[in-house]
């Protein structure tokens, strides 16, 4: 960008700004109503001041407007004297001048010019010095002067002529003569519109009527009756001369004829809006001020002031002469709210002249509304107190024919429901109704309603956007304003300051303070009787709901979290969630700390529009979908048939991923493809299903498909195509991740590539690569070239939060507490005895079991035949709370191994079994060949995984288990050949 251009543009804007003090928009609808006419400014700026600022016609001169107006329309012209334009208002008008003025008015200037040329061609150069010859010819043609008078007028040397008999063109014209010529001139273009009047009324009011030449009497009568010429102080001075100022006024008095002949229209209106814009072009810089005018018909007219600077920094402006209190200026002198009259040319659509009438006068009229018979033309009729019907024009913002609505007070209502026959008050500006108020419709207490845009508790004001869009600011007294707010979670039907009407002193959850009012709230402000202060506020949260998936999350501890949410369609938003915001998961508040990447959430937010383009969003509540985006399985297979009718995709020769790698061979698996937003990747690039269908059925191409849970089924969420053999790495910690193209693992050397196609699982959710963080514990599947196709982040095995005790029960406080007189705690494989008494708390969810099944808490007592005193239990405890009390044998032997088979008869098989020797405290292999063992699980067996007691069916192939058993398996194998033992306490690690 050329710096100089900027400066120029700024200067241009400054040129405009300097003459524009900002005012509030008085006509709010003007911006949104359609623009009816766009007028061009066409006069070069300098011309206005050069040609129209007549130094001898000061502001306040009685004929300032007619002279300037006729000057702008080129009817009258001034004289250039010593570089100053003068009109010579007091100069007398000669006959030739009078004819020229009048013929111009009736549009014969061109004809006069033509006639002048003809005369020059015919009569030779001698007549060149007579500027008026063309006008005289045309005047003669039209009968204003006779052929003899014309002949006189075309005589070069006029000194030889006798003023008594001859026509001397430079002689002052008499007023009676002007009257006659006026009537004649008007009749040229508008025959019959004004006629000489032979019955005299008007002239008899004159003291000097007798001095009017008899031939002129009907004409003087006509112009006086029409109000075109008036006498002064009872005299017409028929023989007197006319000044140029008076002549201008006379012409101004017949301007309707002037405008008709010139096809111009005079309009009235109010300046509704002024706005500036600048355009920097390659050659020219342009600065534009757009002025919108509400005209008398209620429509919007537009005119643009354009200031252009060219490459030589020459500034030119397209402007319109504006006559205002400071004289003739340009459009930049207009202000919003001014009442103006302007002349436009209907052919060229140019605005030619503007007069500022001053600021708008506002009046109010009261009357009874009559049926809206002429609403289609924007007219309403009221009958005033004396029963006189008066019709007014409505501003277009007040009615809408398409919607059949009319605005009464602040609200639109159907035209059918208009308050016909009610008393209404019309606010009239410039003959245009700008507001209609109905008596009684104005509430007794003054309430203002709308949506909060700003609350300032420092300076105690509140700004609201009213129901119909207007903006108001109201003040309150912090200590006295009463506030009631219905929060989004309150479903009570008593809303607002109804306490006002029915005093009620019971708990009211809506009573609150001004601090509770937020931007975006819907409020109703009850104003004090003098309208100065807010007495009470009734408010309601105006919330919006959005759905999305958390794609990333930054925690600020107690301060809350910042989440990035994918709203679907790829649109992503960032939200701050305060620490106190409720996060609900199946109706329970789990707190902001439990928000996780990959969760599908519903967000309730308060949304306020501060200004167009600026929105403030406050999160009020988050609902986590407990079933949304939960991963089901990862499959690997060859692409089979894609059934578009059922919306299923078949995979051939499939395996699914387990901890130990791919297992569960299936010749064909049908997967549902019905979910929204299934993504398909190949080499890190997203592709379409049709592309895959055509190009990715090769011998070596494998499809990796991750599915999500959908009720009791699963459906496809993402498909990744990879070529060649894969490699399932053992689960380990991530030591580094940049989140988009590389991670490193503790157990491997070098970077592992990741890309948008990589399937990433975390917290059981299907997430993006950005969610892989060090030191996540993950199972990674590599697909050629060190690229990860799957990164499965899983909880690191850990059972540290749980302790396992054995103890003899000494005392039970039913439902509350159990005491053991001594106890042993299991550390690794050893029970460490302690003689100390110990207490564990019981609660309703403590599970108590023996070989026959669950013992109800109510049966776990220390009296009667059910007494459990002196019995030995295994106690699984979190801190002092017993989660499980299991009556099972004292298991001191141990075996570890990896599950390779889970069977229906409550047994599992483990391989690579190591047996613990409780005497040597060493692990030895069960057998050197074919090393496996079978573990039977009974009702009183307990399985602990990741600090939780789990069911047998939650065990997975590949889980490494440590089982406490009662027999030494090595011995048993040696003696009996039996590899089976009962596992009483199993740890998955």
């Amino acid at each position: 960008m050329n710096r100089k251009r900027w400066i120029i543009l700024l200067c241009l804007i400054y040129v405009m700004q300097s003459s524009w003090t900002s005012m509030a928009v008085t006509d709010r609808d003007i911006l949104s109503d359609p623009v009816a006419n766009v007028y061009k400014a066409n006069i070069l700026g300098q011309t206005i001041t050069d040609n129209l600022s007549f130094s001898d016609v000061p502001v306040g001169h009685w004929a300032k407007d007619p002279i300037t107006r006729l000057g702008a329309l080129s009817i009258v012209k001034g004289y250039n004297e010593n570089n100053a334009m003068r009109y010579r208002p007091n100069g007398n008008v000669s006959k030739q001048e009078a004819l020229a003025f009048l013929l111009r008015v009736v549009g014969l200037e061109a004809a006069a010019n033509q006639a002048a040329e003809n005369i020059e061609v015919g009569e030779g150069e001698g007549l060149l010095s007579i500027w008026s010859k063309g006008y005289l010819q045309v005047a003669a043609n039209n009968g204003l002067i006779t052929q003899l008078e014309l002949a006189d007028g075309l005589i070069i040397d006029q000194t030889a002529l006798d003023p008594a008999f001859n026509f001397i063109r430079s002689q002052n014209v008499s007023r009676e003569q002007v009257a006659k010529w006026l009537v004649q001139a008007i009749n040229i273009i508008n025959p019959g519109s004004i006629e000489p009047i032979y019955v005299n009324n008007k002239i008899f009011t004159l003291s000097d009527w007798q001095s009017i030449d008899i031939a002129f009497v009907p004409y003087v009568e006509a112009v006086m009756q029409a109000g075109i010429m008036v006498g002064d102080a009872n005299r017409f001075r028929p023989k007197g001369s006319l000044t140029r100022a008076e002549m201008a006024q006379v012409i101004a008095n017949i301007d309707d004829i002037l405008y008709e002949t010139l096809d111009k229209t005079v309009k009235g209106g109010i300046v509704g809006s002024i706005s500036d814009a600048g355009v920097i072009g390659s050659i020219n810089n342009e600065s534009k001020r757009t002025i919108l005018i509400r005209n008398d018909e209620g429509l919007v007219d537009q005119v643009d002031l354009i200031v252009t600077s060219n490459e030589l920094n020459k500034i030119s402006r397209l402007d319109v002469p504006v006559l205002g209190p400071n004289g003739v200026r340009g459009l930049s002198s207009l202000r919003e709210g001014q009442s103006i009259v302007y002349i436009v040319d209907n052919t060229t659509l140019e605005m030619e002249y503007v007069v500022i009438k001053g600021d708008i006068a506002t009046t109010q009229v009261k009357g009874v509304l009559q049926p809206l018979a002429d609403i289609d033309n924007g007219n309403v009729t009221i009958k005033n107190a004396s029963g006189v019907p008066i019709t007014y024009k409505l501003s277009v913002g007040l009615y809408n024919l398409e919607e059949r609505q009319i605005k009464i007070g602040e609200y639109y209502r159907s035209i059918d429901n208009a308050p016909v026959s009610y008393t209404i008050t019309l606010t009239v500006q410039n003959n245009l109704v700008t507001k209609i108020d109905q008596e009684g419709a104005t509430p007794l207490s003054s309430e203002v309603s709308g949506i909060v845009k700003e609350v300032n508790t420092q300076f105690n004001f509140i700004t609201i956007e009213k129901w119909d869009g207007g903006e108001v600011t109201k003040y309150f007294n912090r200590d006295q304003v009463r506030v009631e707010k219905q929060n989004y979670y309150d479903v009570e039907d008593e809303i607002g300051y109804i306490d006002e009407i029915f005093p009620d002193y019971r708990f009211d959850e809506r009573d609150t303070g001004i601090e509770a009012i937020e931007v975006g709230d819907i409020v109703h402000l009850l104003m004090s009787s003098n309208g100065q202060y807010i007495e009470a506020i009734s408010a309601k949260t105006n919330y919006n709901v959005k759905f999305g998936e958390i794609v990333s999350l930054v925690s600020y501890g107690a301060g809350g979290v910042n989440i990035r949410v994918n709203y679907g369609n790829g649109s992503i938003g960032t939200l701050n969630v305060d620490g106190f915001v409720p996060v609900l998961r199946s109706t329970r508040n789990i707190g902001v700390g439990n928000l996780q990447v990959g969760q599908m959430i519903k967000i309730l937010m308060n949304q306020g529009v501060l200004a167009p383009g600026t929105i403030v969003e406050t999160v009020k509540q988050i609902d986590v979908d407990p079933y949304g985006n939960i991963y089901a399985r990862i499959y690997k297979g060859d692409l089979g048939y894609m059934n578009m009718a059922t919306g299923t995709l078949s995979l051939l020769n499939t395996y699914h991923l387990t901890k130990t790698g791919w297992s569960g061979y299936n010749p064909m698996t049908d997967l549902e493809l019905s979910g929204a937003g299934v993504e398909i990747f190949h080499n890190g690039n997203q592709i379409s299903l049709s592309y895959a269908d055509r190009f990715l059925r090769t011998d070596t191409m494998k499809a990796y498909v991750v599915t999500e849970k959908h009720y009791d089924r699963e459906r496809i969420k993402k498909i990744v195509f990879e070529d060649g053999r894969d490699d399932v790495l053992a689960s380990t910690n991530v030591s580094y991740s940049n989140g988009y193209d590389a991670i490193r693992l503790i157990s491997t050397i070098g970077d592992i590539g990741i890309n948008p196609g990589t399937i990433v699982l975390k917290n059981n959710h299907i997430v993006s690569t950005g969610s892989i963080l060090s030191p996540d514990y993950a199972q990674v599947v590599l697909a050629g070239q060190g690229r990860a196709v799957i990164v499965n982040v899983i909880p690191e095995p850990n059972n540290e939060a749980i302790s396992v005790f054995r103890g003899r029960i000494s005392n039970i406080e039913t439902n509350r507490e159990v005491k053991v007189e001594s106890h042993a705690i299991l550390k690794d494989m050893t029970w460490i005895y302690s003689p100390i008494q110990r207490e564990f708390t019981l609660s309703y969810d403590t599970i108590i079991k023996d070989a026959s099944g669950i013992i109800p808490l109510s049966d776990f007592i220390d009296y009667s035949e059910l007494s459990k005193v002196d019995e030995v239990y295994t106690i699984i405890a979190e801190g002092t709370k017993a989660t499980h009390l299991i009556k099972n044998p004292y298991a001191t032997e141990g075996v570890v191994g990896e599950i390779y088979s889970i069977n229906g008869d409550n047994t599992i098989r483990i391989k690579d079994a190591l047996v613990y020797d409780s005497t040597t405290k060493l692990w030895t292999e069960l057998s050197l060949t074919n090393n496996y063992a079978t573990l039977e699980l009974l009702t009183e067996s307990v399985i602990i995984k990741n600090n939780k007691v789990i069911d047998m069916k939650d065990l997975e192939l590949g889980d490494r288990v440590r089982a406490m058993v009662t027999v030494d398996l090595s011995e048993q194998l040696k003696l009996t050949g039996n590899r089976q033992a009962t596992g009483y306490i199993l740890f998955v690690e």
Partner: protein, 496 residues
């Protein structure tokens, strides 16, 4: 006499409502059935006979025994409410009969539930009609065998209350029904078991998808201290929708390049959660999710032909889909993609997209509301049907049927079709678009609602450009986007 005439007009207005939010396919007792599908497109032209009594596959989870037990069977429904389309008040009968056995084959469920439903239509509102219903229980017989106990309904101590409201907006019928009942059972030993259920059904119905969601809180009490006392939350969702996909034709030498097929998908899902603690229940018994998914129905749409000039154009797919769905009907001609769409043509396309019934104005055209839309005008039936649907307003005025529609007008109608303009809250709210000042005050509420719903978005500069005309390409994209929204996105809050 005057009053009679008014009623006559009200009734004829009401006759042409095309969506009326039929509910009850799942039987009001917390179970799920396969449910009815959406009408096929061909039913616009040919009536496919349907049985008033429908029998569907049915699943329910029964909690009476204290162990959630899944039952499978059938439900037979007779709830023909078509009378609400012709009379503004009256009644109709509903019966629901369930026969099911538990998954393990040991339990049995027999239930008959019958109501007489009284209704009143309220049609003097802007842009919508409403129907309120109140059902009176006329018969209830129920017997459940689960485990080793048989529970028999004690009709005397039981009560059932069902009351609903339907909001018929121009294109979408929304409904909400509150259902509350207390069922007293006696087990085989004569011990009382009380089941209370409270919740509501809500959903919507429109030509592209429908959803009925039921939420129930069920409490079972068997007397103090009984471990069978239980509280459960059950949510069921039945969703039917049409999705579109392209079916390319394989032979090169065939007269058309490919067609669009519509998949009519229907599935019902049930989620329950036992809120009270029961040590005898495993996690998978405490939380359960079951579903019924029937094989999809397929319908073939007409071939979009003579649109070769659009090949590669950004709106090609939109045009082709709309021609296939018979939403666009103008004879295709090259260059139409650049032409502005008229107000009449836009309204016609929306009428076709929402399957608004125009038959009244094609068979016996009479009424003329808009001066420039006489009976002979090609858009007459559509403009009049849209007027009856309260999609557009006006009397004795011109509709400006041939004037190009501008964006704000198009958006306003768009939001009114789905009847969600209330989300705009105030009459003329400030919208977040940077050219807010140029939006007409009467259009702001709808545009704000569209913004909140995420269906009206600004351009990259955040403008909505309200006064700009819409080309036929843009209209195609806008209407196709509306249909996509109606196929799936609108249901987001109903599925959870």
């Amino acid at each position: 006499m005057r009053k009679l005439i008014i009623i006559g007009i009200m009734m004829t207005l009401f006759l042409s409502q095309n969506v009326y939010g039929k509910e009850g396919d799942m039987g009001h007792m917390g179970g799920i059935s396969e449910g009815s599908n959406l009408p096929k497109t061909i039913e616009r032209y040919v009536t496919i006979p349907t049985n008033k009594t429908r029998t569907y596959q049915y699943k329910e989870v029964v909690f009476l025994s204290g162990v959630p037990t899944e039952f499978n069977g059938t439900i037979t429904i007779n709830n023909d409410d078509s009378v609400t389309k012709t009379k503004t008040e009256g009644s109709y009968k509903e019966t629901y009969t369930v026969t099911a056995t538990s998954v393990d084959g040991e339990g049995e469920l027999q239930r008959t539930l019958a109501f007489t439903t009284y209704y009143k239509v309220n049609d003097n509102m802007d842009f919508k009609n409403q129907i309120i219903t109140n059902s009176v229980l006329t018969n209830w017989v129920e017997e459940v065998t689960v485990g080793d106990a048989t529970y028999t309904l004690d009709r005397v101590g039981s009560s059932y209350s069902k009351a609903g409201v339907k909001d018929l907006t121009p294109g979408v019928a929304y409904f909400s029904t509150t259902i509350s009942y207390v069922a007293k059972f006696l087990d085989g030993d004569g011990n009382p078991v009380t089941l209370t259920s409270n919740g509501s059904n809500y959903g919507y119905d429109q030509p592209w998808s429908k959803i009925e969601t039921q939420e129930r809180n069920i409490g079972i009490s068997k007397g103090e201290g009984n471990t069978g006392n239980m509280q459960v939350r059950v949510q069921t969702v039945h969703e039917a929708k049409k999705t579109i996909y392209y079916d390319a034709t394989e032979p090169f030498a065939i007269s058309f390049g490919g067609t669009y097929n519509q998949r009519m998908e229907s599935e019902s899902n049930l989620t329950y959660e036992v809120l009270s603690y029961h040590s005898n229940l495993t996690n998978s018994q405490k939380y359960g999710r079951i579903s019924i998914k029937m094989a999809n129905q397929i319908e073939k749409l007409p071939i979009p032909s003579n649109l070769d000039f659009l090949q590669g154009h950004w709106a090609e797919a939109d045009f082709k889909k709309l021609y296939s769905m018979e939403v666009f009907t103008e004879v295709p001609h090259s260059g139409m993609q650049y032409e502005a769409i008229s107000r009449g043509a836009y309204i016609k396309a929306l009428c076709l997209a929402m399957n608004i019934d125009i038959s009244k104005y094609t068979t016996r055209p009479r009424k003329v509301i808009f001066g420039d839309v006489p009976v002979t005008h090609p858009y007459y039936p559509y403009i009049m049907a849209a007027y009856d649907q309260k999609l557009i307003k006006g009397t004795g005025e011109n509709f400006d049927v041939d004037r190009p529609i501008n964006r704000e007008e198009a958006f306003v109608v768009y939001v009114r079709v789905i009847g969600l303009e209330r989300l705009g809250v105030t009459q003329s709210p400030m919208t977040p678009f940077v050219d807010d000042a140029t939006i007409a005050s009467w259009a702001k509420k709808e545009i704000m609602a569209g913004y909140k719903l995420g269906i009206i978005k600004g351009d990259e500069l955040g403008r909505v450009k309200p006064k700009q005309w819409i080309s036929k390409s843009e209209a195609a994209a806008i209407i196709n986007r509306l249909i996509d929204y109606l196929r799936s996105d609108i249901g987001e809050d109903y599925r959870k």
